[in-house]
Amino acid sequence: MDYGEALESDLIAQEWLKSKNRSFGHFINGKFTKPKKTFKTFNPANGDVLANISKGDTTDVVSAIKAATTAQKKWSSLYPHDRAKYLYAIARIIQKNSRLLSVLETLENGKSIRETRDIDVPLVVRHFYHHAGWAEIIDEEFSNYEPVGVVAQIIPWNFPLLMLSWKIAPALAAGNCVVLKPAEYTSLTALYFSQICEMAQLPKGVVNIITGDGETGENLIKHNSINKIAFTGSTEVGRRIRKATAGKDKKVTFELGGKSPFIIFDDADIDSAIEGLVDAIWLNQGEVCCAGSRLLVQENIYEIVKKKIIARIKKLRVGNPLDKSIDMGAIINKSQLNKIENMVEISRGEGANIFQAEINCNEKGCFYPPTLISNVESSMEIVREEIFGPVLVMLTFRTPSEAVEISNNTQYGLAASIWTENINLALDMAPKIKAGVIWINSSNIFDAAVGFGGYRESGFGREGGKEGIFEYLKPKESQYVRQTTALKKSRKIKKSTVLKIDETRKFFIGGSQVRPDSGYSKKIFDIYGGFVTEVGIGNRKDIRDGVEAALKAVSWSTTTSHNRSQVIYYLAENFSKRKDEFSTYLENLTSEHDIDIQVENSIKNLFYYAAWSDKLDGIVHQAPIKANTLAINEPIGVIAILCSDYMPFLSFVTVLGLAISQGNRVVIIPSEKNPLTCLDFFQVIETSDIPDGVVNIISGNHDELGEVLSKHNGIDAIWCFGEKNKFKNIEALSISNLKQTLTFEGKRIDWSNPKSPILKEILRKSVQVKNIWIPYGE
């Protein structure tokens, strides 16, 4: 007695392909172009050619971007309700063609029909419905924001249609037009989606689909008219995109690779955990960025867990993905298959213990058995690198803190799965693991209402939920200070008395005053040309020490927000006692007027961020399953800040207060022109109970220090409020650990008003959202 074959028919899908002569152009400006420069797309389960796909060249890219740019104005000025109607129609039409889309996806991707039918396509539909809702209420919920403009979207081959929906739905809801490039191996459902756009009578140019390979993608992202790039794919390609677009004022969101831990404690429901593991690593052949590919098992249950996994693997059915009784289909292509094989074989050579189920599949197809690798160490490549295949590595831990340590011992930070019946343990672990998504007693569950995205080199930005909408908006341009309104002193000020005693300005690192490593100083003159004092010129080693100190000050990130706010209030209090002294200095050091007001505003802004310390609360998302999902705001970690020359002191204090209010530690470089009063600020910090290392102040040349900071792999984000020519380097140089970057094209921010949308946006960027899925039920 076995299951026999239960084949889903591909008749309708094949007929559709035939009706298109198995040959596709691009979808540009509401029309399909004639196929040209085509390449073949295959069914990975049997090697059959499915269709010929056009490779987009520069001309195609340019005309698609042009179409999107032209459509942008009208689309973004539609009433929200009208945009919502289109998204609603798209959701409906997808639903009405759900089986065809499922089959088409399975044919081209190789994943099982069960997954496309029960997981991918229903989530796609849900995504468009959910975002039809955001389109409807976007004006009231994001009143100070406007669409970013034309968006280039590049998606991977592992969830072709789902990734399309994650990209297109929020972009359209927020009033943007898009040019989307599907992965070269999986274009068909995107092309069918083009047809759905036609059926929904979406205005031409709002959605453009360009097919092609990496070169097509490169042409797309480099184009000047692109305002934002949304990319899902490998960390390596993410780095290349970041580099190629650095300094071009393009908003970027990345959803990249991962090596996510799957942690089983000894008090877990082990059988359920093992089913969770099936969802974690054998969903979609393990070709999942957030796959739970690193299994961490508490040492005392190692044997039983291993035995149960092996028993479970033997039950997995691998084969024709159109068969409804299949757990795992085909790997996307031969080269991916080879990559998986190589990595596993290397680990075998290194002494790893490999268990693989026996599979019996079509030899023309790309199949790989579910694999469990044990006897491995955390230094091995197989444990550290993303495999993107059905391969699980198994490690042990002894205590919760060791589980955290091993979990975080990776450059990635996409997801984690924690299995325990102890809610205290689960909720203690969740904040400690550096990952954007935490699944408690569950794995690989997704929803349109819940943000998805990573920490560290797994990317930045979120897709889904309210946090995802922000990524397709920007604060209204009108909120910046116009450059032309130069701030000149309106009154002549008397030259102040020159200070008699020689003054030494040191850096402030790890809570101590530190002499510049270089031994060089720079003279500071007042606006009348009088010598004031010398400030140190910081170098690489000062930065190194500053970051080191900031990294150690972890307790600031984990202390209570109430405590943080108390400290910042105290900082403001102490500063207010000395404001006249700072005002007097500043009067002579800057040509800006209203210095008293700037200093007064510094105090006000510290109060403002002390207030926000314990109020930037997360939210509870309601996904349509029995789970509460906590979207909590966590500090980014260590932020490097290059301060503005404009309102040098007010901007310094404001951004400092903002960053530390949310639990970040900073290495802050004051204005190059006007560092003096900022360096003096350490005196206030020292008296205000701010723990050592939370604030580190180093002055010096922004270009030089900016480069060191950008390249430093211990820094999580870098913010640059400096001039236009500086941020290009910062974006390009920060690719090594894919720091979150904030640059403002040298645009001037009104630092006196922290309520302005721009500063609110920076406050939002001072945290990252971690979504913790907490299923319930008894």
Binding site: Y3, G4, S272, K315, S325, N441, G777
Partner: protein
């Protein structure tokens, strides 16, 4: 090797039970939401169609405990049920499927004690056992002495299987030892007859209680663990099934004894039957797809399966009035 040999030798033996040992079950964890997710997907991961489906449905029939447990049961009613038990599907279907050699029959006929005699008579000449519900079925709140006596009476009347109800109060108050002693007593009263313990899962409150009660019953020597009487508000469900199957699997791993599983109550559609067979096959394996180790407690299920088989043969949807009553 010794372990393997032990398993091999014990495989076909009835469950001998284990001495009472709380450590074996007291810390059992069951994560309800994860169990629900597994149940929601396991039946979508497998699909049986066409000839395979027909084969699976025949298997389902062979695993049915064809049941009547009503206050208005009479010898005449039981006689009709037994006739259906002997030839569960009409001859034209048997012939069309070319399965006459299988001599297809249901797994057992399940009745109250008073009907055991009639059932025995009606089934004479077949190999179909009679199962008697017992121990103050369905609530189990009659005097313990009488409950044991009831088993003896049914065994004496020829019931080869005894479906007992456990005292839910022992589970709800965590008096596990009392539960163990009670079931152990029932087992000894059963003698050669097989003991099926009905947990009444719908009244146990939590899936953890279901897991623990399953363990205690198996330790006390149950040959089958069964979900429900069919009289509770909630009867057999897939989540309860998953928890009980996992307990059976772990018990087998530990002792080498294969304990049987019987979901009962509310299983009335062929599709439901297939889902149960699939989950048993996935969680326990092919060995359990066998009336010795798996039964459905059902009354109307058979008619629906028969209609589905008819459809398989004719390509036309059938109607209930075209098939014999059970």
């Amino acid at each position: 090797m010794a372990q393997i040999l032990k398993h091999h030798l014990l495989n076909d033996l009835r469950n001998q039970g284990l001495p009472y040992d709380e450590h074996l079950f007291i810390d059992k964890k069951v994560n309800t939401s994860a169990v629900e997710r597994r149940c929601a997907t396991v039946t979508k991961r497998r699909s049986v169609k066409k000839v395979s489906q027909a084969a699976w449905l025949l298997k389902a029939i062979s695993c049915i405990d064809l049941t009547t447990l009503s206050g208005d049961d009479t010898p005449g009613r039981v006689k009709r049920l037994c006739a259906k038990a002997r030839s569960p599907i009409k001859r034209s279907i048997v012939d069309a499927l070319q399965v006459r050699d299988l001599n297809l029959q249901v797994g057992a006929v399940c009745v109250y004690h008073d009907m055991v005699k009639e059932a025995r008579n009606s089934l004479r000449g077949s190999e179909i056992p009679v199962a008697a519900v017992s121990t103050g079925f369905p609530a189990g709140l009659t005097p313990f002495k009488l409950k044991v006596l009831e088993i003896h009476e049914s065994v004496a009347a020829g019931a080869e299987e005894i479906d007992v109800v456990i005292s839910r109060q022992h589970v709800l108050n965590a008096n596990w030892k009392k539960l163990y002693d009670e079931v152990k007593e029932y087992k000894s009263a059963c003698g050669k007859s097989h003991l099926k313990t009905i947990l009444a899962t719908g009244e146990l409150g939590t899936l953890r209680n279901v897991a623990k009660a399953s363990w205690v019953c198996m330790m006390a020597g149950a040959d089958f663990i069964k979900t429900s009487t069919g009289k509770e508000n909630i009867n057999a469900t897939l989540p309860v099934t998953l928890v009980m199957l996992r307990a059976i699997r772990d018990y087998y791993e530990l002792t080498g004894h294969k304990v049987g599983y019987k979901p009962a109550g509310g299983i009335s559609k062929a599709k439901d039957a297939l889902n149960y067979l699939i989950i048993v096959n996935e969680e326990l394996g092919r060995a359990w797809l066998n009336p010795k180790l798996f039964r459905f407690g059902a009354s109307s299920l058979l008619s629906d399966i028969e209609r589905q088989l008819d459809f398989y043969i004719t390509g036309q949807y059938s109607a209930f009035n075209r098939h014999g009553l059970s």
